[in-house]
């Protein structure tokens, strides 16, 4: 009973802090996932249709990001980002700028997500039957319209399982920002646990929150996948 009191929303309970942390985590995860998708879309098109130099640069990007720990990349990107912004602001005559934790998290995690998204989307675009893209071209669609109307809807059913995985990685990777000192769910939990010395209660509660996010996202992505797959033949049993 005592542990339930600790989780209540009004002080002395810490439930409100945990929920605030969860909200921050979800904010960063959503932003990073979206930013990563954007990079991934450009990256995938670049890898498929770009010139030899662009393709090599992109494969260096995906290889390096996938081999170096996220924690290290986040730190490097955090310092690089702050340096760039501060230099830009002093060049424009403003003073030092304090970087918002959410923005820094989205920037760092987004670039990591972008590398994985590039690979997922590249595979999905390759899986679209080339006849569909060719007929779009034959109808005289300009490239951007072709992408919006044909390629993206057709590849979505192939990309969604990978993207679901990426989203789960994004939600869990937000915990890494705790190490950098940003107060998302994991760090809020640790602060609450250290203050009350009931470690198990809080870490288990946070684990339950993360698990809930995972399970709900899994359900949503399954619905989305069914929606993207509508009209396609069921491949089960035909192989």
């Amino acid at each position: 009973m005592e542990s339930l009191e600790l989780l209540s929303f009004s002080p002395p309970g810490w439930g409100g802090n945990l929920l605030r942390g969860l909200l921050h985590s979800l904010q960063i995860a959503l932003g990073a996932f979206g930013f990563g998708l954007l990079i991934g879309l450009f990256g995938a098109y670049g890898k498929l249709n770009g010139g030899p130099i662009l393709r090599d640069v992109l494969s260096i990007y995906t290889t390096v990001v996938r081999a170096v720990p996220e924690l290290v990349l986040i730190l490097i990107l955090y310092y690089v980002g702050t340096d760039i912004i501060n230099q830009a602001s002093s060049a424009l005559g403003y003073g030092r700028v304090e970087i918002n934790g959410v923005a820094a998290g989205i920037w760092g995690l987004g670039i990591v997500q972008g590398a994985y998204a590039t690979e997922v989307l590249r595979g999905a675009i390759l899986a679209v039957p080339s006849g569909q893209i060719e007929s779009g071209r034959a109808f005289g669609m300009p490239p951007f319209m072709l992408m919006r109307r044909i390629t993206i809807p057709a590849m979505l059913s192939f990309a969604l399982p990978g993207l679901a995985n990426l989203w789960l990685i994004a939600t869990k990777d937000t915990a890494l920002l705790a190490v950098v000192g940003f107060s998302e769910l994991t760090l809020e939990t640790r602060q609450a646990a250290t203050a009350t010395r009931s470690y198990f209660t809080f870490f288990l509660a946070a684990g339950a929150l993360y698990l809930m996010v995972t399970l709900i996202s899994g359900f949503i992505f399954k619905r989305l996948e069914n929606h993207a797959r509508r009209g396609q033949l069921d491949l089960k049993g035909s192989g």
Binding site: A67, P69, I76, D173, V179, T186, R190, Y199, G207, L211
Partner: protein
């Protein structure tokens, strides 16, 4: 070696030269004078990172085999707990798991005199048993899921043939089922091993001095930001490269053609 020809394309030569120029510029213009002082610590840190990686992968895989097997063909009362375990491990951040074990168990153990007086106590007061446990459980959770698919992927005919030869169930598992299951997922296991390498720096948060912690120490002592981080990234790239090469070697060792009866 067709690989060499690919490297000698004109634009690649230019890019290589640019990369070399970049490395030379970094070596000349950035501060590296801290390296000699921290080399012994760094070697120890690399050793600790690799040790943690190897131990947790070995123990984690030992756990993953029964977890995957129970999910693939086990009865429901074994499959359900195995599936729950994998879902929980894969659904929560590793950092949270590490902190739960280190701070949670670490705060409960001293309350029991039996544990405090046991011979294990000197070890339980250190951080590394918790790090090994957390990393092992995490690897087991992810690989349990991989092995579930792996056990299912082995062709039925293979198992039936083995049965027809009169192999006992254990021999069949050891000689036929497990080796083929592992071979089928070797590429996945290679990728997962690199993910595990990328998870090891999290143990620095519970006071273990791995190579990541060494670089943080350099940053705090000398206020040099980029150089230790860049060197750290290069070290991880090299370890990841070695893991990739190792798994390529393993993949090429086995027979290339697989029976698919």
């Amino acid at each position: 070696m067709s690989g060499l020809k690919e490297w000698l394309l004109p634009h690649r030569i230019v890019m290589l030269l640019l990369a070399v120029a970049l490395v030379v510029w970094c070596a000349m213009n950035l501060r590296w004078d801290w390296i000699p002082k921290y080399t012994p610590l760094a070697v120890e840190g690399i050793w600790r990172t690799i040790w943690l990686l190897v131990v947790s992968i070995f123990l984690g895989f030992m756990l993953a085999v029964p977890l995957g097997f129970a999910q693939a063909v086990g009865p429901w009362y074994l499959a359900a707990p195995a599936k729950t375990f994998c879902t929980i491990i894969r659904g929560t951040p590793l950092l949270l798991q590490i902190w739960l074990l280190y701070y949670g168990l670490g705060s409960i153990f001293p309350l029991f005199p039996e544990i405090r007086n046991s011979e294990l106590w000197p070890y339980l007061r250190q951080a590394w048993p918790y790090a090994v446990l957390a990393l092992t459980l995490s690897y087991a959770g992810y690989e349990g899921e991989v092995m579930r698919g792996a056990f299912r992927s082995v062709a039925k005919g293979q198992l039936e043939t083995a049965k027809a030869f009169g192999m006992s169930r254990f021999t069949l598992f050891r000689r036929i089922w497990l080796p083929q299951a592992i071979r089928n997922v070797l590429p996945t296991l290679g990728g997962e091993t690199i993910l595990q390498l990328k998870a090891t720096p999290l143990v620095a948060t519970i006071t273990i001095i791995d190579i990541y912690a060494v670089s943080s120490r350099v940053r705090q002592d000398t206020f040099i930001i980029y150089e230790p981080l860049l060197l750290l990234a290069v070290i991880y790239l090299m370890i990841a490269g070695m893991i990739t090469l190792g798994f390529k070697w393993l993949e090429n060792r086995g027979p290339q053609k697989r029976g698919s009866v």
